[in-house]
C-alpha cells in the first residue's frame, strides 16, 4: 500500500511541479502572489480539448491511440497548441493588468487583481464548457502492474516521462542558453541585469511564456490522468503555493522538488489522516515552512 501511495505521490507531484515553476518565477520577479496562475492549468487542459477535438475531426491517424496510451496524435499536437494559447493568455494578462499594476500601485493591489482574474478565468470555463467533469477520451485503460504491487496507468507513465523531459529541457535552457542565464540573472537582480544590457521586460515575457507553458502541460496531464473540470486549477492553488514557497521563489529546482514534496506528503498522509482532509496537507506544509524557514529550501536569506 505504501509503495502505491508513493507512486501516486510522485505522479501528482509531477503535475504540481510543472505548475509551480511559473508561479515560483513570477513570485520572485514580479514580487506578488499570483492567485490566477492556477487557472492557467485549467485553461491548459481545456485549450487542449479544443485543439484535440479539432484534429480528431480529421480522423485517420489523428484519432488513433498511440500504443497503450489513451490518446493519439491529436492530443500531442493539442499539447503544443495549448502551450501557445495559454502563453498568449498569460502575456495578455501581464501586458494589460499585471504589468500596469506593478508600475503604478502597491504590491497587494496585484494580489487583489489576481483574485479577480482567477474568478473571471474560472467562470469563463463554466460558461463555455459547463460545470460537469469531462474527459479527453472515454476509453478504458488497463493498469500496468509494476514490481512491489504498484498499479499505474500507461498515461501516468507518460505523465512522468513528459515531466522529466520538460524539467531537463528547462534545466538545459537555463544553464546553457544566454536567454536562460538572463532569466536567472533577472530573477536575482533586475536592476543589475538592466545595467548589464539585458532587456528585462523582454525576459519577463519569456518567464511568463515558460511558466504558462509549464502550467498548460500540467493541466493537460491532469486532464488526461484525472479529469477536466472548472475547479481543476482552483483545487491546486494550495499545492502550487506550497511547492513554490517550499522550494523558494525563483528556483527551478526548488519548484520541482517542492512539487514532489507536496505530492508525496499529500498521498502518504492518507495513511494517517482521513482522505477527506487530504487537501489540507499542502496548507499545513505551508504553515510549517513559513514558520521555520520563511525563505524556502532554495531561497535566498533575506538580508
Amino acid at each position: 500500500m505504501f509503495l502505491q501511495h508513493l507512486a501516486d505521490g510522485i505522479l501528482s507531484g509531477a503535475i504540481v511541479s510543472l505548475g509551480a515553476i511559473g508561479l515560483s518565477f513570477t513570485m520572485k520577479i514580479l514580487r506578488f502572489a499570483n492567485f490566477s496562475h492556477s487557472e492557467l492549468l485549467t485553461w491548459g487542459a481545456y485549450s487542449a480539448l479544443i485543439f484535440a477535438s479539432f484534429f480528431n475531426a480529421f480522423g485517420g491517424v489523428f484519432g488513433q491511440t498511440i500504443g497503450p496510451f489513451s490518446f493519439g496524435l491529436s492530443l500531442v499536437i493539442a499539447m503544443v497548441g495549448s502551450c501557445i494559447m495559454v502563453s498568449a493568455i498569460a502575456l495578455v494578462l501581464h501586458r494589460y493588468i499585471f504589468d500596469k499594476l506593478s508600475r503604478t500601485t502597491a504590491q497587494m493591489t496585484m494580489v487583489f487583481a489576481s483574485f479577480g482574474v482567477a474568478l473571471i478565468l474560472r467562470h469563463l470555463v463554466v460558461l463555455i464548457w459547463g460545470s460537469n467533469p469531462i474527459y479527453y477520451s472515454n476509453d478504458l485503460q488497463f493498469a500496468i502492474l509494476l514490481p512491489g504491487g504498484i498499479r499505474v496507468m500507461p498515461d501516468q507513465v507518460f505523465l512522468l516521462g513528459l515531466t522529466i523531459v520538460t524539467v531537463v529541457s528547462l534545466h538545459l535552457f537555463m544553464t546553457r542558453t544566454r536567454t536562460g542565464i538572463a532569466m536567472r540573472g533577472v530573477s536575482e537582480s533586475p536592476e543589475l541585469a538592466r545595467v548589464s544590457g539585458v532587456n528585462v521586460d523582454a525576459i519577463i515575457n519569456w518567464v511568463w511564456i515558460i511558466g504558462a507553458s509549464g502550467a498548460a502541460l500540467g493541466g493537460v496531464l491532469y486532464g488526461m490522468t484525472v479529469q477536466l473540470r472548472p475547479e481543476l486549477g482552483f483545487s491546486l492553488i494550495l499545492p502550487l503555493f506550497a511547492a513554490a514557497i517550499l522550494g523558494g521563489a525563483g528556483s527551478l529546482y526548488g519548484a520541482v522538488l517542492g512539487g514532489m514534496v507536496v505530492g508525496l506528503s499529500e498521498n502518504l498522509s492518507v495513511m494517517i489522516i482521513p482522505t477527506t482532509y487530504k487537501p489540507a496537507v499542502p496548507f499545513l506544509l505551508i504553515l510549517a515552512i513559513l514558520y521555520f524557514r520563511p525563505e524556502g529550501i532554495f531561497g535566498e536569506q533575506k538580508r
Binding site: 502572489a33 500601485t105 504590491q107 479577480g116 467562470h123 469563463l124 460558461l127 477527506t276 489540507a280
Partner: protein
C-alpha cells in the same frame, strides 16, 4: 406591488448590512493595519456555525443544540471567531503580505473542509437547520419580521460603526496607523507592533464572526456552501470599491457591490433561458471580477479612499 418592492428592499438591506459588518472588520485588518486576510470566509463560517450550535434545537447525531438565547449566540460566535483568529494570528502574523495571503487563504479552505467533513460538529454536507430567528418571537408575518430583523441589524451595525470610529481615533488606533506606515519607527517608540497587529486581526475576525452569526440566524440554516471562497472575494471587492481605510466606504462598498451582484443576478435570470441558468451564475461572477479588475486599474483607491501612504519605494 409596493409591498413586494419594500419587502425586497428590506431583504436587500439586511443582507448587505450584515455583509458590511464583515467588511468593517476587514477594513480594520487591511485599511487600518495593513494585514491581508484572504480567509474571511473561514471566520464568517466559525461565527455562523457557532451560532447554529449554541442557539439551535437539540439534535440527535450532532453536537450542540443548546437552545441558548440570541444574544448569547452572537457573543459566542464572536468569541469563537476571535479565538480562531488568535491561533491563526500567532502562527502567521509575522509573515509578509503575500505569504499571509496564502496562509489565510489556506485557513479558510481548511475550515471549510472541517465544516464539510466533521459531521458530528457541523452536520457535514447537510449542515444545520432550524436556527431560531429572534424576530419570529415578537411579530407575525414575514414583512414585519424582516423589518424587525433589519432594525436589529441596524442597531448592531450602528454600534459597530460607532465603536470602530472611536477606536480609530483612540491612541491604540493611532498606533495602528503608525505601524502600518513604518513598523520599525513604531517599534522604536517602545510599543509592540506584533501584539497590536494581533489585536487588530482578532478584532476584525470577531466582527466577521458576528456577521456570520447574524446571517445564519436570519436565514435559519447553515451549510458549508454558505462560506465558499467567493465570500472572501465579495468582501474584498466591497472593501476596494468602497475605498480602504475608511469605515464609511466599507459600508457604501457593501451596498454598492451587493447591489450590483443581486441586480445582475436578477437581470441574468430574466435574460438567460432557463435551461442554462447555471451559466447565469458564471456570467455574474465574471461581471464582478471585471468590476474589481477595472476598479483596480483605474482607481486603486476605490470610490471613497485614503491614499495608500506607503510607497513602493519605501518598501524594503
Amino acid at each position: 406591488m409596493m409591498i413586494g418592492l419594500i419587502s425586497y428592499l428590506v431583504f436587500f438591506l439586511i443582507v448587505s448590512l450584515i455583509f458590511s459588518i464583515s467588511v468593517l472588520g476587514l477594513n480594520m485588518q487591511w485599511g487600518f493595519t495593513g494585514l491581508f486576510n484572504a480567509g474571511v470566509a473561514g471566520f464568517v463560517a466559525i461565527g455562523g456555525y457557532t451560532m447554529a450550535i449554541l442557539t439551535g434545537p437539540s439534535r440527535e447525531v450532532v453536537f450542540g443544540g443548546f437552545e441558548l438565547p440570541f444574544i448569547i449566540g452572537l457573543i459566542g460566535a464572536m468569541v469563537m471567531a476571535g479565538l480562531g483568529a488568535l491561533i491563526v494570528g500567532l502562527l502567521t502574523l509575522k509573515l509578509n503580505h503575500e505569504y499571509l495571503a496564502v496562509a489565510t487563504f489556506g485557513i479558510a479552505v481548511t475550515i471549510q473542509l472541517v465544516c464539510l467533513n466533521w459531521e458530528y460538529l457541523t452536520g457535514g454536507t447537510l449542515g444545520l437547520i432550524s436556527i431560531p430567528n429572534p424576530s419570529r418571537d415578537y411579530v407575525e408575518g414575514a414583512l414585519a419580521q424582516n423589518a424587525l430583523f433589519l432594525a436589529i441589524v441596524l442597531v448592531l451595525g450602528g454600534l459597530v460603526f460607532i465603536g470602530l470610529e472611536r477606536i480609530v481615533k483612540s491612541p491604540w488606533g493611532r498606533m495602528l496607523k503608525a505601524i502600518r506606515e513604518d513598523e520599525t519607527a513604531a517599534a522604536s517608540l517602545g510599543k509592540n507592533p506584533v501584539r497590536i497587529r494581533l489585536e487588530a486581526f482578532v478584532l476584525g475576525c470577531m466582527l466577521m464572526g458576528l456577521s456570520g452569526a447574524l446571517y445564519v440566524s436570519f436565514i435559519g440554516y447553515v451549510s458549508p456552501w454558505d462560506f465558499l471562497p467567493i465570500l472572501t472575494f465579495q468582501a474584498w471587492t466591497m472593501l476596494i470599491v468602497g475605498g480602504s481605510a475608511n469605515n464609511r466606504g466599507a459600508i457604501l462598498g457593501a451596498l454598492v457591490v451587493w447591489g450590483i451582484w443581486t441586480f445582475s443576478g436578477f437581470l441574468i435570470s430574466r435574460v438567460v433561458p432557463s435551461d442554462i441558468q447555471a451559466q447565469g451564475g458564471a456570467i455574474q461572477a465574471i461581471l464582478i471580477g471585471l468590476v474589481l479588475v477595472a476598479t483596480l486599474l483605474s482607481r486603486p483607491r476605490g470610490l471613497i479612499g485614503e491614499e495608500l501612504n506607503v510607497s513602493r519605494h519605501a518598501r524594503s
